[in-house]
Subunit: 307 residues, 2 copies
């Protein structure tokens, strides 16, 4: 694996991000190519289309950094981190549907339902979501991670992505469209819609790394802060970005009168809040020493990223 960095410059975290993305992309690209999947050709093709459409793979990379922070080489755990990308990808497919956000473009490519039709897109999302749990329960990982730990990961992932997590947040987002909500409600919404799966990513790294109670608590607080920071940064990018950089229509959120941090706090207020969350994230892992440098670098990257 990449050496744990001492001087966590931007370049070094970028090397870790590239390293993580390459590992995750490679592992994802081997999914659904088995002979049995051929009988379900169009469905598995549709799943692979969205799964391999790019993306920063920030969720599994956060788990990797959490594993590093508790003294584990993350590389062997990559297969058990793919479920995070499967869940993230299914949520994008379903979100983009005409019945939901009705987006035709994602990362510069036609969305799943545009290519495969709405019905296949719904089923592809369902199958990706379901397969996340097939991976976690695969006996081939019995030696890598105990059944007890992987069942805890099942719990964390299903909680972070379900009714009281990501899906619940998506529902609140939908319900709040067209009306202005309070900052408190906005935070609740985003702590679920985006923050919950980000937090789960960090916690899953901690679970797989069998972190002690104190380490787990630090990582938990880090994940909470980074989850909020991620959404604020996303909102800011949407305001400041342009279609060319993002591969989707910029300022879409504002056109639809969506609730965002810049809309409620102003651009400067949102930037200030993002910085506070970054500080909180860095504080949370201050006791973990150099091993947490990847976590620190990712937190900074999330606030400062330009796409």
């Amino acid at each position: 694996m990449v050496e744990l960095v001492k001087n966590n410059s931007g370049k070094e975290i970028e090397a870790f991000l590239d390293y993580g993305k390459a590992l995750v992309d490679s592992a994802l690209s081997s999914l659904f190519l088995e002979p049995w999947a051929g009988r379900f050709g169009r469905l598995s093709e549709s799943m692979r289309y969205s799964l391999l459409a790019g993306g920063k793979r920030i969720r599994p990379i956060l788990s990797m950094a959490a594993l590093s922070s508790v003294g584990h080489d993350p590389e062997p755990y990559i297969p058990l981190l793919l479920p995070l990308e499967l869940i993230h990808t299914y949520s994008l497919i379903h979100d983009d549907l005409p019945a939901m956000d009705n987006d035709d473009l994602r990362r510069g490519k036609p969305t799943n339902h545009v290519v495969f039709g709405d019905a296949t897109a719904i089923l592809a999302g369902d199958a990706l979501l379901t397969y996340a749990f097939t991976i976690l329960s695969d006996p081939r990982y019995d030696e890598l991670s105990s059944e007890k730990v992987r069942l805890a990961v099942v719990r964390e992932l299903s909680h972070g992505s379900g009714l009281a997590g990501m899906v619940g947040g998506q529902m609140l987002d939908m319900e709040s469209e067209g009306r202005r909500i309070s900052l408190e409600d906005l935070e609740f919404l985003h702590r679920h819609k985006t923050g919950a799966l980000i937090l789960s990513s960090v916690r899953i790294g901690a679970l797989l790394g069998e972190a002690g109670a104190s380490e787990f608590n630090s990582l938990d607080q880090y994940g909470e802060s980074v989850g909020v920071a991620f959404q604020i940064a996303d909102d800011l990018l949407d305001v400041e970005g342009d279609a060319a950089t993002l591969g989707k229509a910029a300022q879409k959120d504002n056109n639809h009168l969506k609730n965002t941090y810049p809309a409620l706090l102003g651009i400067d207020g949102a930037k200030k809040m993002a910085k506070e969350k970054l500080e909180a994230a860095l504080d949370a892992v201050s006791g973990l020493g150099e091993k947490a440098d990847h976590l620190r670098g990712i937190a900074r990257y999330i606030i400062e990223r330009r796409n």
Copy 2:
């Protein structure tokens, strides 16, 4: 629990079915009422609407009968069988969507998307599917069933309901609409679309009951045969039934030029095949003695049911 029956008359299996349904209904009705669920009011309401819209609860009841057949009182295991109904219910919600089968009526009631809108119906399905795994990984069941066993149940459920199971079968069904397929392809389709989750129900009972290898094998064969029989019976009901009995438009399958057993084999041919599958199911569990009487009764009931 209901006494294991010696003379497995229709009345006695009906008592077991009623008993199982009452237990499952009662356990389902307590879901998503916790205070936290209140913050996601409309989504949890939508989930409960479809979850409590009736149904025979045949999947968890099959698990109960499998548990009985290996000498376990099924009642304590009811919470761990609810995931089967959550998965079955989500699949109905997504199937009924305008982008899929576009059904307005299910069990005599307006379908989920008719009441709550398409977007909420998609999210309610996603959340039900996800929550199935939250239940299985809940530490409150650590004493009832080991992490090892419950992780095996996660695997069985995700496999039976995913790409190589139910969702894959739904995709094949959709792709075969409007063209005649071979009996071999029809069997492959239905072994996945309906059969896989029926088989998983039986296997989950066997897993929870920690069946020995020989018992497991018998139950596996039983589940395979009953899964096919269930679909043939469903097809026959659709041909012979009427809208009043079924609460949905009868003969809909034929109008859409769907592939069914009666369409390929004729009504008499389909009835003959259903009887052969019943015999195979009964044969499979012939070595399990009286403990398997519920399984026998359910197999007969499935072939002979009128709705």
